[in-house]
């Protein structure tokens, strides 16, 4: 084998989560009353458009979660040795972005460095902007720069549009076969917005993603599309790698939150008495400690643990990964209280309803009543909380990384990007692209998550129904 697969802790959990979500989807598809609110989500243009954006992010994140260590080229065949750096499938796909580093800052799409240097030219030493090692290296003369950019962008847009047409055609073939109509008939209905779901929005969003992808495919191999950072690394690559970190924090934290919130929240509301008192006491104590400080304390402890047990982690990636996991764990432990309080209140109401009383008088066990009667009736609250929390967690990562208690400094994340770049705006001339890239990527993900969460909430929350 040319590589050795590496399964980091967060990788395993992510794929476990994915399996769980797929299982849930399969379950929902079979039951009409569970499917109905999702149908209503699918009819909302804003929510569907946001869902498409999220899907693009998720695909990148998943590709970035399949890790391996490549075999060293000069190692013997019978006793292979593997590199210490851990790569992912995504790294392999964008190999040139990862490996082609410049000396230091360069502006987006530039062909020369951002700072002047002494360079030798025709035997004389002059002070000028040196050409980049990789960015625009194929150009013989700087005057071709503009034409080349224009050419590549146009080609990229055309490719993207072509791919979008293919997409529309494929969608049409699939849908018209499903509804047993003619292809043209379905396309016409979709164009007029009568297909039953917001085809136009979905196609517009995916089409824009394809066009953007086409342009990037043309430009990225020859230029640094978003420039390079202080040590010359491609900013586009860093931003793309940060997607996984954001997604991991947004989803795995919830994985920690849910069992605590559901178990304790329902137990408090259902059993009342001393159970209720105890659980309320625990969450008031946790709630009253300022969140950032609790996270800071716990992260410092994890750091001490990692430093005093270096033998447990064989690669730097494994160390960074365990810190990321610990961060998710800690954020989960500090953030379950809100949902638990909500579920407690709801269970308090539910337990007095007739059908629960009836079940109890039939001698149905507590565990069964909770499973069959309480939990299904609070599930929509859980779902709404999950999607609403996601964006907040992504934003929190940036703040925590700025404070210095976020993810490992060696890990790619938007928080680390902002933290590393916050003094760049004070430079002359201004270096704006790293902050700009972190901003755009983070904003896109969080906005999409917020819009999607709004759609889900409106569809599932009976009270919010008529409000918009």
């Amino acid at each position: 084998m040319n590589f050795q697969p590496v399964i980091l802790w967060t990788d395993a959990l992510i794929f476990l989560l994915l399996a769980g979500v797929l299982l849930l989807v399969a379950m929902i598809r079979r039951q009409e009353h569970l499917l109905a609110p999702w149908r209503s989500v699918a009819r909302r243009p804003m929510a569907m458009g946001a869902a498409m954006v999220l899907a693009v992010f998720v695909v990148i994140g998943l590709l970035d979660s399949l890790h391996y260590r490549p075999k060293l080229a000069d190692s013997p065949a019978d006793k292979p040795q593997y590199a210490v750096e851990v790569l992912s499938v995504f790294d392999a796909l964008v190999e040139p972005l990862r490996s082609r580093s410049e000396k230091t800052y360069s502006a987006p799409l530039a062909i020369q460095l951002h700072a002047k240097e002494f360079i030798e030219r025709d035997g004389v030493t002059v002070r000028d902007y040196p050409r980049l090692q990789y960015g625009g290296a194929h150009l013989a003369d700087a005057s071709e720069h503009r034409a080349d950019l224009l050419m590549r962008t146009t080609t990229g847009i055309l490719h993207g549009l072509l791919a979008s047409l293919m997409l529309i055609l494929l969608l049409g073939l699939w849908q018209s076969r499903r509804h047993q109509t003619a292809l043209t008939g379905w396309l016409w209905a979709a164009w007029r917005g009568e297909a039953g779901w917001p085809v136009r929005t979905v196609v517009a969003v995916l089409g824009s993603a394809l066009v953007l992808g086409g342009v990037l495919l043309q430009l990225a191999p020859a230029y640094h599309v978003l420039g390079t950072d202080k040590v010359g690394q491609d900013v586009l690559y860093i931003s793309l790698k940060s997607i996984r970190t954001g997604l991991v924090i947004g989803t795995l934290t919830t994985l920690v939150t849910l069992p605590l919130a559901i178990g304790l929240g329902i137990a408090a509301g259902y059993f009342r008495g001393w159970v209720d008192d105890l659980i309320q006491y625990v969450y008031t104590v946790l709630n009253s400690i300022p969140g950032v400080l609790l996270i800071a304390a716990a992260v410092l402890i994890v750091q001490v643990y990692i430093e005093s047990n270096p033998e447990l982690f064989d690669t730097a990636a494994a160390r960074a990964d365990i810190r990321l996991l610990a961060l998710c764990l800690i954020m989960g432990v500090t953030s379950w209280t809100g949902l638990a309080r909500l579920l407690r209140g709801e269970s308090l109401k539910l337990r007095t309803l007739d059908y629960v009383e009836a079940a109890r008088s039939f001698g149905v066990s507590h565990a069964r009543i909770i499973r069959r009667h309480i939990f299904p009736n609070v599930f929509h609250l859980v779902l709404i909380a999950v999607v609403l929390d996601f964006s907040g967690l992504v934003l929190a990562e940036a703040v925590l990384s700025y404070v210095g208690v976020g993810v490992d400094p060696s890990m790619y994340s938007w928080g680390n990007m902002i933290n590393g770049a916050r003094l760049e705006l004070a430079r002359e001339p201004v270096v704006w692209w790293q902050l700009g890239a972190a901003f755009v990527f983070m904003f896109t993900l969080v906005l999409a998550a917020n819009l999607f969460a709004d759609g889900v909430r409106d569809a599932f929350d009976p009270r919010a129904g008529g409000r918009r």
């Binding site: 006491y281 625990v282 008031t284 104590v285 709630n287 009253s288 400690i289 300022p290 950032v292 400080l293 609790l294 800071a296 304390a297 716990a298 410092l300 402890i301 750091q303 001490v304 430093e307 005093s308 964006s391 934003l395 940036a398 703040v399 700025y402 404070v403 210095g404 208690v405 902002i418 916050r422 705006l425 004070a426 902050l435 901003f439 983070m442 904003f443 969080v446 906005l447 917020n450 819009l451 709004d454 409000r467 918009r468």
Partner: protein
């Protein structure tokens, strides 16, 4: 009323004890004083003697909970728990790693924090309510729809970017206000303005949207219909009836954060160089000064619990239907 407050205060005691024990466990049991010493001394200078010396200097050389070698009540008082954790109940926070008294630092640093946090809170509340009322007035029109979308957009921007953009555009590019710093008295006004502005703007998105839903919930109620049926104008209905009743959940929700304003905001203070409690905390986290972090945890919890009690009292004050037993 008075008896109720006293009872609530007693109810707060077990919670504070819980916080105290939890922080003690986090800082001394999971993470032993030896680990702290190693972290503080750095990898190079770690020798068993150096660790011992560091522990003696900072008073961490005693047993955790029970001192068998001491006599009488000193068996319990001559321990790390009693001297470093239980002492906080008397607001004795001890000394930080650089030898300063933490209690004194807190007393001087809370005023700059308050100078930023209070205007952000008060003006922010007014601005958010105004925006929410505007959206409610134009409800189910395009103005309302785009208002909500704008709120979601504003919500999706990280707080760090509001600060960075504010400093870059207002302070650096247009030279309107100083980029960071702090001064007492009237001179301080120009330093305060930018952080306050940034704080207000970054809160509009979530605040206005949240208040809008509160007002919309109120506007569907019977008494509003009655008011309209009497022939009152929409503006009068909105200000006289909806605003007044909507203020109940808004104000009581705001009261709980009121005491916490003393703690300041970590990020804002560190970006703008405000010598408040927020930047104090952030410096302590970055320098891994556990004594300060412990003190701030206790202070934060204490203020939060004060906020909870104030909330209960304010409920009975604004809403006569609520009775305290």
């Amino acid at each position: 009323m008075f008896a109720y407050i006293v009872r609530r205060l007693f109810y707060a005691v077990p919670i504070l004890i819980g916080v105290n024990l939890l922080t003690f466990a986090l800082f001394f049991v999971v993470n032993t004083p030896d680990d702290m010493a190693r972290l503080q001394l750095g990898a190079k200078r770690v020798t068993p003697e150096a660790i011992e010396r560091w522990k003696v200097e900072h008073g961490y050389d005693k047993p955790l909970l029970f001192n068998a070698s001491a006599a009488g009540t000193q068996k319990f008082t001559d321990t790390i728990y009693f001297q470093h954790s239980a002492a906080m109940f008397a607001f004795e926070f001890g000394e930080s790693d650089d030898g300063r008294n933490i209690g004194n630092e807190i007393r001087t640093r809370m005023w700059p924090s308050l100078a930023i946090a209070l205007p952000v809170f008060v003006i922010g509340l007014l601005v958010n309510i105004s925006f929410a009322l505007l959206m409610v007035f134009f409800r189910s029109t395009y103005l309302d729809l785009w208002g909500v979308v704008l709120c979601v957009v504003l919500m999706s921007i990280s707080g760090l970017f509001y600060i960075i953009a504010g400093q870059y555009f207002i302070a650096k590019l247009w030279n309107l206000l100083p980029i960071s710093g702090f001064a007492g008295g009237i001179d301080g006004l120009k330093f305060i303005m930018l952080p306050v502005l940034v704080g207000i703007v970054s809160g509009i998105g979530s605040g206005a949207r949240w208040y809008r839903t509160i007002f919309l919930e109120e506007i569907g109620k019977d008494y509003v219909r009655t008011a309209r049926a009497k022939g009152l104008s929409e503006i009068r209905v909105l200000f006289r009836h909806v605003l007044k009743n909507g203020m109940i959940p808004i104000l009581t929700g705001a009261v709980v954060v009121l005491p916490l304003l003393f703690m300041g905001s970590l990020i804002t203070e560190s970006f703008f160089g405000i010598p408040g409690l927020g930047s104090y905390t952030i410096d302590a986290i970055q320098a891994q000064d556990f004594a300060i972090v412990r003190a701030m945890v206790f202070l934060g919890s204490f203020l939060y619990i004060v906020g909870l009690i104030l909330t209960d009292i304010s409920y009975s004050w604004v809403d006569p239907r609520v009775r305290l037993q």
